[in-house]
Amino acid sequence: MADFQTSTHRAKWIFTPQQLVDKYEAANQTAIQTLEKYGSTLMEVDADGSFSYPEPQVNANADKHSRPKPLSIEEEQFMRVFYENKLQEVCNNFHFPHKIQATALIYFKRFYLVWSVMQHHPKNIMLTCIYAACKIEENHVSAEELGKGISQDHQMILNYEMIIYQSLEFDLIVYAPYRSVEGFISVMEEFCGENDHLPVLQNLHEAAKMEVDKIMLTDAPLLFPPGQLALAALRSSNEVHRVVDFERYLMSILSRQNSTDSISKLVQSLNEIDSWVRSYKFPSEKDLKHINRKLKSCWGISSHDESKKREKKSKHKSKKSSNEAENMP
C-alpha cells in the first residue's frame, strides 16, 4: 500500500477530538440555518450529481408552531450510528471483504463531517459509500446490482456518487486497520518464537478483526491512525486470549520501528480508543422513532403535497424511492 506517512489520510483526515466537535457543530448549524431560511433541510441531488437547496416553502414563516424542529448534534450522531450499522449489515450480506466495509465506513464518516443527516438522507449516502468503496477497491459492483440486492432504486446511488467524491475532496485512498492487524500478528509470530503458538495466534487474529469491526463504528477512525486502532484491537483481544505480554510486545514494536514515541504515549492512545468503544451507544427503538419523526419533518416529506411536489420536480427520482424514503425507519 502506498505509504500512510505521506498520505492524505494522515495529513487531512485525522483530527483532534475538539476539531471533530467543531465540525459536527458547524454541520448542524448549517442545517439549522437552512431550515430557518427554507423551512426544510433536505438537499436536492439530481441525476447530474449537482445539488441545490430546498425550495423555500410558502408557509414557512406563516405558522411558527408547525415549523419543523432541527435535530440536535446527539440525535444526528444516533442517526449516523444507526446507518453505520446498516452499512456493515449490507456489506456482510454481500459478503464484501472487510476492507471494502471499512473504506465505505470511513467515506460515510468523512461525508458527515461536512454535511448533516438533515441535509442528505443517510440511507442514500450509506449505499453510495458502499458503491464507491467497491469501485475504489476494485471489487466493482454495478449500481444496479447493489440496488437490487437491497431493493433500492439504483439511480439514487448514481446521483449521489459525485457529491460524495466531492465532499471527500477526492481523497479516496483510505487505510483500514485490518491490514495493520495482519502485520502485527506476523510480528507477534516472531516475538513468540515457538511455532506451537500459531493456532493461538490464529484465534487472536480473528478476535482482533471483530474488535476492529467495533472500533470502526466509533469516531476513533477519525482520531487515530490505523496502526494504533489495530494495536488497540489486538490488546483488548489479547486480554481475553492471553497470548503475549502486551506491554513487552509494544516495547519490542517501538524499538523495532525506532519510534521516538514513548510507550506511555502509545498506551494512552490505546486507552482512549478503548474508551471510545466502551462509550459507544446505539440508539433505542424509542430514540429512533423520535428522531425519524423529526427528520421527516425537516426533510419536508411529512405532508402529502410536499412529496408529490418533489416527485414532479425530480423526474429521476422514481416513485419507489420516494415512497421508501417515507417508510424508512
Binding site: 492524505t8 487531512k12 485525522i14 475504489i136 439504483h154 457529491i163 491512525p225 494504533q228 519510534s259
Partner: protein, 498 residues
C-alpha cells in the same frame, strides 16, 4: 505507525466543484447555470482561457488552457476531460483511479494535478495538470523525421535518469504505472522547469495491494510494444518489473529512434495471445530458457503453447546490434538488465539509478533538453493545438463516421518552433494558428467514436452554434471532402493516446 494523531493539515484546496455551493453558502438554487447551453460556460471554466485541444484518446480529450487568476496569470494548464463511462456505471472508474492516486503522490518527476473540476452538464470530470510542452513520443519523432540525427547522449541519459527517478518514487510508494510508453513521458518546455521529465497518465496505475485485473478485463486497449514478456505469456500478477521492461524499451527507442519490439497487435478475442509481439522480442533477445527464467514454465501461454512458440528456435540475441551499442558499454549493460526475461532478475528502478551508466560522462542533468557543454540545442516543436474545438468537444458533437480526411489547409504551414509560443489570446475565428504536420494525429485519431468530434476541414467555427447545426455542417463538410478527394494524411504509425 507510531504516528501521533497529527492534526489535519490544511486542505490542499485542490478540488473545485462545478457550480455547487459549498454548504456554508446559502444561495438558493444553484442549478441555474448547470443546464446552460453551449455558449454559456460553466463557472469553473471561466477561470481559464481555452487555447485548444491537444490530444484525445480512449479516455477523452486533453485541452490546453491558461489560467486567468491574477497571481498565476497566463500559466499553461493541460485539462484532461474524461468521457462519461458506460451508462449506469456512474463516474468513470479510470478517472477516479487516476485522481485518487495523484492525490497521494508528489514528486518532481511525476505530473502534478492542480485541480479537479466537475462538469455537471454531463457528469464528466476535468483534471487540470501543469502543462508540459513536450513528450518522448514527439521528441523521438522530431529526431527521426526532421532532424535526421540521434538524440544527444546527454539528453538521452538525463531523460532516462529522471524517468527512473520518478518511477523509483512510484514503486517505493507501491504504485505500478502499467502503461509506460513514450507518449506518457512528458518533458517540460521553456520555463523554470525546462527539460524536466514528468511521468503522466495514471489511468491504469495500480497500488500493489489491490487485486489486479488484467488489462482487457478493464476494457482498455494499450500499446503492446512496451508490454513485458511475462504479461504477454499470461502472468496474472503485475509487479513493478513490468514498468522496468517498458523503460528498457523506451531507452532503446531513445537510442535508435524506433520502437524496439514493434509487434503487430492481435485485436480479438479479448486478451488474445500476442504471438507476433513475443516473436519480435525473441528475435532480438533470443529464445527464453528455463535456466534463465525458471518460472517461465508456470506461465499459462507458455505452458499451453497453443501456437507452438516453444518450438521456435531463435538465434542467440543480438540486442547490442539493434541498438548500436558496444557490448562492453555501460549503456548496453544497463539496457540488457532492463530487458532481462525473468522479472525477478530484472533490474529495479532503485538499482538502475545506481548503475555505472549514470556515473560516467556525460552526467545526467535536470534540464534534459539543454546540454551544459553548450552543444547545439535542438528546438523541439511545440505541441500542435487544435483551436477549433470547444471544451465541450465531445458533447457538442455526436460521434459519427470516423473522419478520414486530413486537414486540407495546413500543408504549407511551418511548425512553430517554440519561439513565439502561442501567445495570441484565444483564437476564435480566423485560421487556426497551429497547423503543423502534427495536426494530423488528432484529426486522424482512429479510435472508434472519437473521430466525429473533430472538425475535419480545420475550419473555424463560431462558438454558440448549436450542436445540431454544427453536426449538420460537419456532415456536409465531410461529404464534400470525400467527394472532392481532398486532404487525406498518410496513416499515423501509431494512434496516439493520452
Amino acid at each position: 505507525m507510531g504516528d501521533g494523531s497529527s492534526g489535519g493539515g490544511g486542505n490542499r484546496g485542490l478540488v473545485a466543484s462545478g457550480n455547487s455551493n459549498s454548504n456554508n453558502n446559502n444561495n438558493s438554487n444553484s442549478n441555474s447555470n448547470n443546464s446552460s447551453s453551449n455558449n454559456n460556460k460553466p463557472q469553473w471554466l471561466q477561470q481559464y482561457d481555452l487555447i485548444g485541444k491537444i490530444g484525445e484518446g480512449t479516455y477523452g480529450l486533453v485541452f490546453l488552457a491558461r489560467t486567468k487568476s491574477p497571481n498565476n496569470r497566463g500559466k499553461s494548464i493541460a485539462i484532461k476531460k474524461f468521457k462519461q463511462s458506460k451508462d449506469g456505471d456512474g463516474v468513470s472508474p479510470t478517472a477516479i483511479r487516476e485522481i485518487m492516486l495523484l492525490r497521494e503522490i508528489s514528486h518532481e518527476n511525476v505530473v502534478k494535478l492542480v485541480n479537479v473540476h466537475i462538469n455537471h452538464v454531463d457528469m464528466s470530470l476535468y483534471l487540470a495538470f501543469d502543462y508540459a510542452e513536450h513528450d518522448l513520443y514527439e521528441i523521438i519523432r522530431h529526431h527521426r523525421d526532421k532532424v535526421n540525427q540521434g538524440i544527444n547522449p546527454y539528453t538521452v541519459k538525463s531523460l532516462l535518469w529522471q524517468l527512473l527517478n520518478g518511477l523509483n518514487y512510484l514503486h517505493s510508494n507501491w504504485i505500478i504505472h502499467r502503461d509506460l510508453k513514450p507518449s506518457n513521458i512528458l518533458v517540460m518546455g521553456d520555463g523554470e522547469e525546462q527539460g524536466v521529465v514528468k511521468i503522466a497518465d495514471f489511468g491504469l496505475a495500480r497500488i500493489y495491494q489491490a487485486p489486479l485485473k488484467s488489462l482487457s478485463e478493464n476494457g482498455v486497449v494499450v500499446t503492446i510494444w512496451y508490454r513485458a514478456p511475462e504479461l504477454l505469456l499470461g502472468a496474472k500478477h503485475y509487479t513493478s518489473a513490468v514498468d522496468m521492461w517498458a523503460v528498457g524499451c523506451i531507452f532503446a527507442e531513445l537510442l535508435t529512434l524506433k520502437p524496439l519490439f514493434q509487434g503487430a497487435e492481435v485485436k480479438a478475442p479479448p486478451n488474445p495471445f500476442q504471438l507476433d509481439q513475443l516473436d519480435k522480442i525473441f528475435k532480438v533477445l533470443g529464445h527464453p530458457t528455463l535456466e534463465k527464467w525458471p518460472t517461465l514454465a508456470n506461465l499459462p501461454h507458455w505452458q499451453q503453447d497453443l501456437q507452438h512458440i516453444q518450438g521456435h528456435k531463435y538465434d542467440n540475441h543480438g540486442l547490442h546490434g539493434f541498438v548500436h551499442l558496444p557490448l562492453k558499454s555501460a549503456a548496453y549493460d544497463l539496457l540488457s538488465k532492463m530487458l532481462e526475461y525473468d522479472p525477478r532478475k530484472r533490474i529495479t528502478a532503485a538499482q538502475a539509478l545506481e548503475h555505472e551508466y549514470f556515473r560516467v560522462e556525460p552526467l545526467p542533468g535536470r534540464n534534459a533538453l539543454v546540454p551544459p557543454q553548450g552543444e547545439k540545442v535542438v528546438n523541439y516543436p511545440t505541441r500542435p493545438v487544435d483551436t477549433t474545438t470547444d471544451f465541450e468537444g465531445t458533447t457538442s458533437l455526436q460521434p459519427s463516421q470516423p473522419v478520414s480526411s486530413g486537414n486540407t489547409v495546413s500543408g504549407s504551414m511551418q511548425p512553430a518552433h517554440g519561439v513565439t509560443g502561442r501567445s495570441v489570446p484565444r483564437p476564435l475565428l480566423g485560421m487556426p494558428r497551429m497547423q503543423p504536420q502534427g495536426m494530423a494525429p488528432y484529426n486522424l485519431a482512429s479510435q472508434a467514436g472519437m473521430g466525429g468530434g473533430m472538425n475535419p476541414g480545420g475550419i473555424p467555427m463560431q462558438r454558440g452554434v448549436s450542436a445540431h447545426q454544427q453536426q449538420q455542417f460537419l456532415q456536409q463538410l465531410r461529404r464534400k471532402d470525400a467527394g472532392m478527394g481532398m486532404g487525406g494524411y498518410p496513416p499515423q504509425q501509431k494512434p496516439r493516446r493520452m
